[in-house]
């Protein structure tokens, strides 16, 4: 480590050589090399983080340039990660920089994050934020959150020393049409700069133990009025009891479960070995049901969870597909790692095609 380079930090009372060494030993993953990722990466690299990983698979566009200040006009069309790495290496040759030229997905998230001490969420969409949250909960990593809306921003540190998670604030992912993103809504160029810098500051605090970390506190910033609010919130234990990632984080499956047409279900290979839960009343069940079905009426679902094998795929059926959807919503909150499939159309669909029992 070049000590002269960090002299202004190491002479700083309350920081010093010890904190600088902790930065040097730290491995930080930054998810997103856009509006938030650029200031996070640039300042963490300057301040002397030992290892920086970057996850992004985007290319630079002209409309990025008003806020993504690491990129030049001539680089429009090039890979963000590629350009970022070249510039960050020129800025600080001591940093080990690792490129993950991919988007974060539920297939790669646990593998990628496992190698790092801390994750900075510099993404620009809900599916990635919820994926980062759940992966960090599973792997017990702090993650430093930042997000924007117009002239406003939010910052917090989640899952830090068993502190609250992102789901303790916002339990469920919004549907795709609920909350607009920067592309639809616009953003003032400086806003991600401010929020990203707060994220870099929190990262340094988490890694060095210097100062108070924004854990259990959500910082709300309104750039128009320069108001800052800090909202305190508590951990909800159920949000840390994750047994695995959910099967899907895309908006399309924001409903958390997959769907199979009831009729198509019957055509699945080894159909007779599948686990099927019928959540109708015992009376309905007696009237007609599929041979492989186990009857757990919806009201009994919570107390009879132990009759379900969560390691296997769990198909759920009711009369029309509505109650089975509800059942899956309730079950998947408790067991987001399990694989639920709703039989859409339910027994009505199956009967229509004359294939009951």
């Amino acid at each position: 480590m070049n000590f002269e380079r960090y002299d202004r930090q190491t002479i700083l009372a309350g920081f010093g050589i010890d904190a600088q060494k902790k930065l040097h030993q730290a491995k930080v993953l930054v998810v997103g090399a856009g509006g938030l990722g650029v200031p996070v990466l640039t300042y963490l690299n300057a301040m002397g983080i030992g290892t920086l990983g970057i996850v992004d698979n985007d290319v630079i566009s002209i409309s990025n340039l008003h806020r993504q200040v690491l990129y030049s006009e001539a680089e429009v069309g090039q890979s963000k990660v590629g350009v970022a790495i070249t510039k960050l290496r020129n800025q600080n040759s001591e940093t080990v920089i690792i490129a993950h030229e991919t988007f974060l997905t539920q297939e790669n998230a646990l593998n990628i994050i496992a190698d790092y001490d801390l994750v900075v969420d510099a993404s620009d969409n809900f599916p990635t934020r919820y994926l980062i949250n759940d992966a960090c909960v599973i792997l017990k990593k702090s993650f430093v959150y930042g997000a924007l809306h117009g002239f406003e921003g939010q910052v917090s540190v989640f899952n830090h020393n068993d502190g609250p998670t992102y789901r303790c604030l916002f339990p469920n992912m919004p549907k795709s049409d609920e909350v607009p993103d920067c592309n639809e809504n616009g953003v003032l160029g400086i806003l991600p700069g401010i929020i990203g810098n707060f994220q870099a500051l929190e990262t340094v605090k988490v890694l060095t133990g210097v100062g108070e970390v924004l854990s259990g506190k959500l910082l709300l910033f309104d750039g128009l009025s320069n108001t800052f609010q800090k909202i305190s919130f508590s951990a909800r234990p159920e949000n840390r009891e994750l047994h695995g990632l959910r099967p899907c984080y895309d908006f399309e499956c924001a409903s958390v479960f997959n769907i199979v047409d009831a009729e198509a279900f019957l055509g699945l290979t080894e159909f007779e070995k599948l686990q099927l839960i019928d959540v109708r009343t015992p009376k309905e069940f007696d009237r007609n049901h599929l041979k492989i079905a186990k009857n757990i009426p919806l009201p009994e679902l919570d107390i009879r969870q132990n009759e379900i094998n969560f390691d296997e795929f769990i198909y759920v059926v009711c009369q029309s597909g509505i109650r089975s959807k509800k059942a899956i919503e309730r079950l998947s909150n408790a067991r987001p790692d399990a694989h639920f499939i709703n039989l859409s159309g339910g027994m009505n669909q199956i009967k229509k095609h004359g294939v009951t029992n």
Binding site: G32, G34, G35, L36, G37, A122, S123, D124, N125, F126, R129, G146, A147, L148, H149, G150, E152, G153, Q154, L169, F170, P171, N172, M173, P174, K175, D177, E178, V179, P180, D181, C182, N185, V187, P192, L218, L220, D222, L224, S225, Q229, K230, I231, S232, F233, S234
Partner: protein, 80 residues
């Protein structure tokens, strides 16, 4: 009782804060506040996740509201 609005909540209402005046019937609980918002601004019905803070602390639906409380409506935001 003052209500501060953030993110899409601000966009829906069209301003950054509003007040329940003393002569109005103010909502008695967070869940009543949510219902009231949905009635006045149907777009709130679309928001599946809307955090509510009372006096700078996260508040679930059961929390009672009283005169002088400062309420913040905090939707998730996605931009980056």
């Amino acid at each position: 009782m003052e209500v501060l609005l953030f993110g899409i909540a601000k966009d829906i209402v069209g301003k950054s804060s509003f007040r329940f005046n003393a002569d109005e019937l103010a909502p008695g609980s967070v869940s009543e506040l949510r219902e009231r918002l949905k009635r006045s601004f149907p777009e709130f019905g679309k928001l599946s996740s809307l955090a509510v803070a009372v006096n700078s602390a996260y508040a679930d639906d059961a929390v009672q509201l009283k005169e002088g409380d400062e309420i913040a409506l905090i939707p998730p935001v996605s931009g980056g």
